[in-house]
Assembly symmetry: C2
Homo-oligomer: 412 residues x 2
């Protein structure tokens, strides 16, 4: 629900200190913030979707097959159903002649019957000869090589046995999974419900262009979609503490993201709005960039404060609310990027006590940082091939060190 700017919102309680024009007196560690996220991630819920709508959704697992596939023994090629024992002795210089009978009764001695791939076999048949393997005449055919029993036949339950477990792990459904489910006669299945996310974008600060506010909306909507969530409501350009508090308090979503106005300027009122609508658990995290992020709750609904600066917003999103959204959508809650080990070509300087998020570029098999930890803006995350997170316990990495890189694109 978007806020109604005419209605007054009573401030219920104001947790969290006011950092405006003072700065952060202390900060939560990234580990503490992640622990808060994990503690407050709600349990999964499920919904029924049609098979043809289920690509990429996470199925409820383990999932057991409702039927055998194939349901009966059947041909798996087009051709002639035969008793294999009757082909023994056939050869190029000794073709054996068979009579072609109708398919609707048991196979008579010395006879074959036309079958199509997928069709049940006539009683007595135990192999299928493809057309390429025979010489056809009117009502008869010659077989020039013996065929082994079972050739050209799919056995009942050969692919799937009723009650056996398919879809063991909670992975996004692939095209072949949907095909198999449909083969088994399934029309719909239970999948993890997508979390609904409300985005509230705080308006630009006075005297400042609206660029970062404009950037955060499309970027966060794409991040939420990538992580399996649905943007339930996007409220852009909300001005003032009361309007923000109403936007936060009025949400029916599974979680709320407030972007912008989280730092130390006089008009950075998002933390105060969250305190008014609910409670602030953490504001200020030992992270660069993204240190003005925070989190709390409105009733039972988790709410996150994300910096307005787009680069800081991206970093804080990926580590905190993104983690919750991925978990709620049934995915691995960890960072959603493939990782690789690369040799660092230039040193990275960090500060003990802070997690530093360096954008890096691949250079001849190694990586090098793209400028300082807080420089380059969102353009640095566009130009980067990936990033390195320097743990709070380290002062950085020397050149030549092998480091773990989270890659923005996969190297196919």
């Amino acid at each position: 629900m978007c806020p109604d700017s005419d209605r007054e919102m009573p401030i219920r309680r104001a947790h969290g200190g006011d950092v405006r024009q003072r700065g952060f007196p202390d900060r939560a560690s990234v580990d503490e913030a992640i622990a808060w996220v994990d503690r407050h991630t709600p349990g999964l819920s499920f919904e029924e979707v049609r098979v043809e709508q289920a690509r990429g959704r996470i199925p409820k697992t383990p999932w057991s097959a409702p039927a055998d596939l194939p349901a009966t023994d059947c041909a798996c090629v087009d051709g002639y159903a035969v008793r294999s024992a009757e082909t023994i002795g056939a050869g190029n210089y000794n073709p054996l002649r068979f009579r072609v009978q109708e398919h609707d009764g048991p196979l008579l001695p010395g006879s074959v019957a036309l079958v199509a791939s997928g069709e049940a076999l006539p009683q007595g048949a135990d192999a299928v000869l493809p057309f390429e393997a025979v010489q056809a005449h009117l009502d008869a055919l010659d077989v020039s090589s013996p065929v082994a029993p079972g050739t050209g036949i799919a056995r009942k339950a050969e692919q799937v046995r009723a009650g056996s477990t398919l879809l063991e792990s909670a992975q996004p459904l692939r095209p072949q999974d949907l095909g198999l489910l449909a083969s088994l006669g399934l029309k719909s299945l239970q999948v993890v419900r997508r979390p609904r996310v409300q985005l509230a974008i705080a308006g630009p600060k006075p005297g400042r262009g609206s660029a970062s506010g404009d950037a955060d909306g499309p970027m966060l909507a794409a991040l939420v979609a990538r992580d399996g969530g649905i943007v339930d409501t996007l409220c852009a350009d909300i001005s003032g503490r009361d309007a923000l508090a109403r936007a936060i308090a009025g949400s029916r979503a599974d979680l709320v993201l407030v972007a912008g106005r989280t730092a130390t300027g006089m008009d950075d009122e998002s933390p105060l709005a969250l305190a008014a609508a609910g409670e602030v658990a953490i504001h200020g995290i030992a992270l660069r960039p993204g240190g003005s992020a925070g989190m709390g709750r409105v009733g039972a609904t988790p709410a996150f404060l994300l910096p307005g600066d787009p680069l800081a917003c991206l970093c804080a999103y990926d580590l905190f609310p993104g983690r919750m959204i991925r978990g709620l959508s049934g995915r691995d809650p960890g960072l959603p990027y493939p990782v690789g080990e690369f040799e660092l070509r230039r040193k990275i300087v960090s500060a003990v006590g802070l997690v530093d998020w360096y954008r890096v570029r691949l250079v001849g098999g190694g990586v090098e940082p793209l400028g300082g930890v807080e420089s380059g803006g969102l353009a640095s995350a566009v130009r980067a091939d990936g990033f390195v997170l320097v743990p709070a316990s380290l002062e950085g990495y020397p050149p030549g060190k092998r480091v773990t890189v989270h890659l923005y694109r996969e190297a196919h």
Copy 2:
């Protein structure tokens, strides 16, 4: 357009031999079929989409920035704008006092002015002191350490220079790309138009369950979506040559997929329907499974024949029409799976002249085939971790051989 079963369709010409109840007299090689696909893939076309709709789309490249970012020098932290030279000599035992002035004029000597992150600096200022770095009093503040020029400041065009190239390669747009485009004031951009694909699913053969036909529709729709296409029309369960020919001829899509009835049974009339509506260029490919696939054209529109058996359908889709759809949507036309090198734990037997598509499972750092090349049905592609393509020139691979595996899932 779905076929109107009441209307008669004249058979215009019938290229390609009739293989029904005869078998394939010869087959095109996989390389020949791929060369046909590449020769008949139309050029890219583009469309304008809104930035917030552009996630995953392929931008028209190279794309040049329309403006500088930031547009002017500005603060990148909240705090006090200062002349850095005036802080020289400041220390814990020698705090320097500054007067706090309004922001609306040039900075006076001995003065600082409040600025918010993103705001332009007052004339004369060359650094910003964050609130944590100062001791504030009424209308004045004390600075206890010198600040270097440029601290807390983002320079005009520091992130992006107008006219410089962003988005160099044709990769799907990521959340940060959309954020940066929006930061630059962009509302929409040119992206590769998604190819429209008509699916025509031939009805089940008489006497045979409809399982495979039911499987191919949802599976192909998901494959087309995965590869960047849009299913324009799905015509399911089309019976008879004339109805199929009408479905093929009436398409307004960029390409047509006909699934089912491509093999050697009497009712395998899809190739004849394509011949009636247009022309068959290839029918029968030296590939297992998937050997009854084919391709041709209706006017200028490429049309593909895919086997009804879901496993064969998947294999033939990925190699031939999937290649065209990926190319038309601006992606790499190659197989869309990450690859890895693995040691083979059991031998793979192939036939010279045929490309064999073996499903394999990861076993303790190596891979082993999941049964025979044509056995296991679609369930084998669901259980597999990936697949190995054995080239036509080889008789297979011995155990211990390192082989290239296309992985169905990424190993994060």
